[in-house]
């Protein structure tokens, strides 16, 4: 290798290093791009597209009552068994009318869910439940901020949630 080649090599090498410094130096003067989370939040447009845990959709005439017909299709479709739907078990003939027993959906004669619980700690947000629902009663919520110290908090009672949301909406509408 001749001396001129060596010098050229050293020159291009040093030049690339200086250019590199220029890139980070320029970044040094530019404003940051970080969203400082607790003080700032990502803009709403971005958040609404987020797929949070599933939630029930209320009937058009009564938003506090879900469209759900307790058929159990979503329970079967779920890959991780995170949905539990309980319905009152129809009393057998001849049995005394005791306290209402709850059993997994579908139950004969019950067209509304008695309890609808999603265990979000198991959910993989695949959306199979919403896809299979015959009455379009399930959709994704858009709440990315789910934090808790207790695993139990991720067992979400969707019926209670629907009622709460309907109430909030009614209050907001007034």
């Amino acid at each position: 290798m001749s001396v001129s080649q060596l010098i050229e090599e050293a020159y291009t090498g040093l030049k690339s290093l200086v250019i590199g410094l220029g890139v980070t130096g320029k970044a040094l003067t530019q404003p940051g791009v970080t969203v400082l989370y607790p003080m700032e939040e990502v803009e709403r447009d971005n958040l609404v597209t987020y797929r949070g845990h599933v939630e029930l959709i209320g009937k058009d005439e009564d938003p506090a009552v879900p469209r759900c017909v307790a058929c159990g299709a979503c329970v079967k479709a779920c890959p991780s068994n995170c949905i539990t739907i309980l319905c009152p078990v129809a009393a057998k003939e001849g049995e005394e009318a005791g306290p209402v027993k709850m059993g997994p959906a579908p139950q004969k004669g019950s067209k509304t869910p008695g309890e609808f619980i999603v265990d979000f700690s198991l959910c993989s947000l695949c959306g199979q439940c919403a896809k299979t629902c015959p009455v379009d009663s399930l959709q994704f919520s858009d709440n990315p901020y789910m934090v808790s110290f207790d695993r139990k908090d991720f067992r979400i009672d969707l019926l209670a949630r629907l009622r709460r949301m309907a109430r909030d909406e009614a209050v907001a509408g007034e």
Binding site: G20, L21, T24, L28, G32
Partner: protein
């Protein structure tokens, strides 16, 4: 001798004790500030804010980190050589204190003025590598061992061009006293040796980065190769001391560079010590900036750079300096 005499600054022992106290305070404080600067520069280079929440602009973050480090349990790994293992971080700090002594902070500010200050610094800065070897060897860890081996080879390789580049300046100035060398330069950039002899300055800077084990020459602690190199096994304040020693070493090499190449304390308007600090921090900023820009070099490339490029260049520079000094003087 009476108490008055003992408390006078002219008495060497008193001066030494006060000086050491000042050094520890200065190194401790500046170490913290430097950690903050480092993280801030890193943050802004990467388009993020860096530490922000503890204190104004996160200024107290390093302090909190230090408290955390002090609060941590000191763990020595199973099978380690306990004596060497704990000696190493302390030893890492020893050269720092000595090297700080002859730095010229101002025209009449030094812990101990001496006419061979440069020799003292160069001699003791070589001691730092000993602590790395002990740390790597003592911790009974293969990564540590590899890091220690790397640090020795690196230190040996870069000591040579560093010495040669410093010698070029010493010959030009005709002195080994940092005060005299600083005093011979002026307050304006064109009077500095760094401008008069840019090659020596460049070589010194590269070697300084390598000697302080900073990226892109941070091979002894290359975390993506050797997890953390020689300080893999250190926790708590053992790690904290290495960390602090690294920043203290950076301050020293920057101080030497400022004194040798940037006119030391000299500058218009401001008192000397401020100019010296400003120059030190400019060099520190540059070293930090390098770290957040470049990838790490490979070990053989590192040695090649020293032996095949920097050493011949430094020799050439030295010869030139001798000729210029011979004719000009």
């Amino acid at each position: 001798m009476n108490l008055e005499q003992l408390l006078s600054l002219d008495y060497p022992l008193t001066r030494l004790v006060i000086g050491l106290l000042c050094i520890f305070a200065f190194v401790g404080l500046n170490g913290l500030v430097l950690v903050w600067v480092e993280r801030k520069v890193a943050g802004h280079c990467q388009l993020r804010p860096g530490p922000l929440h503890v204190g104004p602009h996160g200024l107290l973050q390093p302090l909190v980190d230090a408290v955390k480090l002090i609060g941590k349990q000191l763990v020595a790994p199973f099978g380690s050589d306990k004596a060497l293992f704990w000696l190493a971080p302390l030893l890492a700090f020893a050269p720092v204190t000595v090297c700080m002594l002859p730095l010229p902070w101002g025209p009449d500010m030094a812990m101990i003025p001496m006419n061979t200050g440069l020799v003292l610094i160069l001699a003791f800065s070589g001691l730092g590598v000993l602590s790395l070897i002990l740390a790597g060897w003592g911790s009974n860890n293969k990564w540590g061992l590899l890091g220690a081996a790397r640090s020795v080879a690196q230190s040996v390789a870069y000591e040579v061009p560093l010495l040669l580049s410093v010698m070029a300046v010493a010959i030009t100035a005709g002195s080994l006293d940092l005060f005299q060398i600083s005093a011979q330069q002026g307050g304006w950039p064109w009077q500095w040796y760094g401008v008069k002899n840019p090659l020596a300055f460049f070589i010194f800077l590269v070697c300084a980065v390598a000697e302080t084990n900073r990226a892109p020459f941070d091979l002894p602690e290359a975390e993506s190769e050797l997890t953390a190199g020689f300080h893999t096994e250190y926790s708590g304040m053992g790690f904290g001391l290495f960390f602090l020693a690294e920043y203290a070493n950076m301050i020293i090499v920057s101080g030497v560079a400022a004194a040798l190449f940037l006119g030391g304390w000299q500058g218009p308007f401001l008192p000397g010590v401020w100019w010296f600090l400003v120059k030190i921090y400019c060099i520190l900023f540059f070293i930090i900036w390098l770290r957040w820009t470049y990838p790490r070099v490979r070990f053989d490339q590192l040695l090649n750079l020293s032996w095949k490029w920097l050493t011949p260049l430094a020799l050439l520079d030295l010869a030139l300096a001798v000729i210029v000094a011979g004719f000009g003087g």
